[in-house]
């Protein structure tokens, strides 16, 4: 996805930052090991959060760690989270989503994106097949992702002017994804997923607003004209507020503080970064 789910670093403890990095590294490693080097390029904060959240909220997934080197950090041993269900599920979701995104790019993006998409599609396609072969969970994700792309392009071609409605396909996809790791009452996971998907979609829409305006592309906020930014900010603020409420209903196990940091502060900090573009930067690479 797009990397809008990050911790708010100033409030993160050093230990927590290390754990977060370890999960990030673990996901990178799993992508490389199971799906090839191309897959590593798709590594994103969003899926690192997904893995960490699953480990935290599910409670039955027990992570273990090792110290090792890798290509990105050849000189320093890094702590890395070993593969577990949360990490492999995130990796599967990332691969499936990448495949659909590339297919979408080929369909309705500009010339260069089409070329890039056509070149990458074989890799993405084989990665998706590998993921699908792992079983029922991946097939569920695939079905949800397919539905999302179809509904999204339908909404775009009808030029949907309701941001709430435009965000629905992405929201529903994340809802299904979160339902896969549900423990106890599924509804909390579903609503959390829905809101998180909505957040990602709206962030992306706001981030691309100026660009889309210039190029005449579809954007759900474009119909609000000069109020677009204010409206987008309000919609995002509502979403982060509801997410902050929802997270308090989970019985978070490990990484509680980090997950809460991301949900209660990281998301809002991202909203602020996007609305005040050119301002502070919280997106330092790990």
């Amino acid at each position: 996805m797009f990397g809008y789910i990050k911790p708010y670093r100033p409030e993160l403890k050093i230990r927590e930052a290390e754990e977060y990095r370890a999960v990030y590294c673990g996901l990178c490693r799993e992508l490389g090991k199971s799906y090839g080097i191309f897959a590593r390029m798709t590594l994103s904060y969003d899926f690192a959060f997904m893995a960490m959240f699953m480990m935290s909220a599910n409670g039955e997934i027990c992570p273990s760690f090792e110290n090792c080197r890798c290509m990105a950090h050849p000189f320093k041993k890094q702590c890395r989270c070993l593969e577990n269900r949360a990490i492999s599920l995130s990796a599967k979701a990332a691969m499936i989503l990448t495949y659909y995104k590339i297919k979408d790019d080929i369909k309705d993006k500009g010339f260069f994106k089409k070329i890039a998409g056509a070149l990458l599609l074989p890799f993405a396609s084989s990665a998706r097949k590998k993921a699908l072969a792992t079983g029922e969970e991946a097939q569920k994700i695939d079905l949800a992702a397919k539905k999302m792309t179809e509904e999204q392009s339908a909404l775009e071609s009808e030029k949907c002017s309701l941001p709430d409605k435009a965000a629905q396909p992405t929201a529903k996809f994340l809802e299904e994804l979160m339902a896969l790791c549900a423990k106890g009452d599924e509804r909390i996971f579903r609503r959390f997923g829905y809101l998180l998907g909505r957040y990602i979609y709206l962030c992306d829409a706001l981030d691309d607003l100026e660009d889309d305006r210039k190029k005449g592309n579809y954007n759900p906020f474009i119909f609000a004209n000069e109020n677009a930014k204010e409206e987008a900010k309000a919609a995002l603020n509502l979403t982060t507020a509801e997410l902050g409420d929802d997270i308090s209903l989970f019985e978070l196990d490990r990484y509680k503080e980090t997950v809460e940091n991301i949900v209660c502060m990281g998301l809002r900090s991202e909203v602020r970064r996007i609305t005040e573009k050119g301002g502070e930067e919280n997106g330092k690479s790990l």
Binding site: R9, L162, D164, D185, I188, E231, N282
Partner: protein, 184 residues
């Protein structure tokens, strides 16, 4: 405005209350000396979640009692169908409030807030509508719910906190460089 997860929140609230009562009882009996901090925080959090029982405030004098019941039972599609069947001229403040509640449950937060605002404007004296509208107005402005403290200090206050944040971030960068983490 009834949160779709209100029953779960209520359950948690019950647990907290039971624990609190137990502590109070123990304290009266002079068993142990607990610190006085902490309880308040937990309380505030859930209070705001249960929506202060907006749903419960309502006095029963409702034109759309059946629709309210459907919403409470989470039968959103049926409720919406009935609601949309109400002709335009008889759509009063309550109609907008219920429409907003449906949007809210579905996660269509912007539309929900618009409907609550409309309901509030049509009938400013109604506590139920006012509470729903004010809660979302607060959320819209601050990005968190009223009564929730986590992170509010950073963004919530209109004073010059930004400077403080930037400073912290700069310090963070410097720290990273010193530790040798900043290589990429």
């Amino acid at each position: 405005m009834d949160n779709p997860l209100a029953d779960i929140a209520a359950e948690k609230m019950k647990e907290i209350n039971a624990a609190y009562e137990q502590i109070q009882k123990d304290r009266k009996a002079g068993k142990t000396s607990y610190g006085n901090t902490g309880y308040g925080g937990a309380y505030a959090g859930y209070n705001s979640y249960g929506g202060n029982g907006y749903g419960g405030n309502y006095s029963g004098n409702s034109q759309f009692a059946d629709i309210r019941r459907l919403i409470q039972q989470n039968r959103i599609a049926e409720a919406e169908e009935l609601l949309d069947g109400v002709p335009e001229y008889s759509r009063n403040a309550e109609w907008y409030f219920l429409k907003g509640s449906i949007y809210y449950r579905r996660g269509w937060l912007s539309e929900a807030s618009r409907c609550f605002q409309r309901a509030y404007q049509m009938e400013p004296g109604n506590q139920e509508y006012a509470a729903a509208y004010q809660r979302m107005a607060y959320q819209q402005q601050y990005g968190s719910s009223p009564g929730r403290t986590s992170g509010t200090q950073i963004y919530g206050c209109p004073c010059d906190c930004c400077d403080c944040c930037t400073t912290l971030m700069c310090m963070d960068c410097i720290g990273d460089c010193l530790c040798g983490n900043g290589c990429c």
